[in-house]
Symmetry: C2
Subunit: 229 residues, 2 copies
Amino acid sequence: MPQRSVARPQLTRESVLQAALQLADRDGIEALTMRALAEQLGVEAMSIYYHLPNKDAILDGLVEVVFAEIEHEVGGFPPPPATDASSWAPTLRERILGARRVLLRHPWLPNVMNARGASGPNAMRHVDGVVGIMRAGGMSHDLIHHSLHAIGSRMYGYVQELSDDGATPAPVELEQLAALAPHLAAMLAEVVHDDPDSTLGWCDDQTEFEFGLDLLLEGLERRLAAQPA
Amino acid sequence: MPQRSVARPQLTRESVLQAALQLADRDGIEALTMRALAEQLGVEAMSIYYHLPNKDAILDGLVEVVFAEIEHEVGGFPPPPATDASSWAPTLRERILGARRVLLRHPWLPNVMNARGASGPNAMRHVDGVVGIMRAGGMSHDLIHHSLHAIGSRMYGYVQELSDDGATPAPVELEQLAALAPHLAAMLAEVVHDDPDSTLGWCDDQTEFEFGLDLLLEGLERRLAAQPA
DNA sequence: GTTGTAAGACTTACGCCGTAAGATACGCTG
DNA sequence: CAGCGTATCTTACGGCGTAAGTCTTACAAC
């Protein structure tokens, strides 16, 4: 009846993801169902499956789309080479605040990342940029590693420190990673190598948790000491 | 046929919650469906609804059950009166690590709290204990307020700093809260009062976010300075 | 032109989910 | 024995993700 004219795609992976983003922003992530998404696209639900294999792929795609938005917000993921070694902290601060600005536009995203992870290329390059900034400031890979855990909640707007596995990258994956995120790959290579029993769970979650906790407690003690009596 | 003998309850709110806890721990939170839970209890799904109004009530109940477990782990929520004002940080540290020990046994719980919140009495008394510890250390209510936001992710194993509303308690609720969580209520009374436009969203999320972020960045700068060259 | 092929949509249906509505079995009190 | 409240079961509905198969169209080869 509606006289659909061609078989050239009006539906694409990109248009689906963009519609999904709009729908989630407008009505919340729980309103993002295959049927609702199809309706927004003027199409039947099953038609989406030609372009994306399942709903999880849509969620993963959304994470990547938002990281692309973050990249634009912070002016590109490979940060400009630092001219001043002491400027790493303000640089990092601005980068994290920029990411937060984007996440505030998509407040449902942290939950999606929490459920599905954030291991696409854009997310990786974001982390890589952070590692690069810290590296330019003179931090060791080991300290950077701890720092990533500590600021994780600020980078992503959430944190799940209770993960049961550290998601050890296989050596093969590590090579692929090097092309995409060289700083991150270098850090992993060194930190994993240092740990003799690196079969799995190469992060000691308890240690990382206490590292971040002590950072905060020390800071609070200084704030307390500076408090007007 | 199975000759169920009595109408005296074999099912209770408590037995349902305990079975739900077991099921979530064993098979993950996504396996916690009304039908699976009923089967575990040797009962039909709809029978559960006599004791709990819906599934969300079960999730809320689980949060409270786990906070009771935390209370037991840390030796009671009203912390013992501090003998030494400088001991607040180690006391708080131990309390947070204790909570983490419990959350590690129920790794699905942070996600539930993220989705459903943690506003039951046990959760409130937990926060109240933390406020009490900080208060005994000499912190102002204002500083305590900031600190709660900063350590939120450590207290709960997660953080959702992107909430859109600050959940302003109505004055009536505040009275009820005072009975349950006096330290927390005192803090809220003061902090909310200080803010002239306290109609809703009395926390400035951006300020709180930057407070916690700067705590971490300063700490990392000190770690970097202490790093062997 | 006719026909083959494959892209890109649609149709139908299945097994899950939470739960509304109501029926049923039992013990207790009059 | 009648009636009532309690606790459980039965049935069914609408919505979910998606497996399987079908239909329409554009285009290339003859």
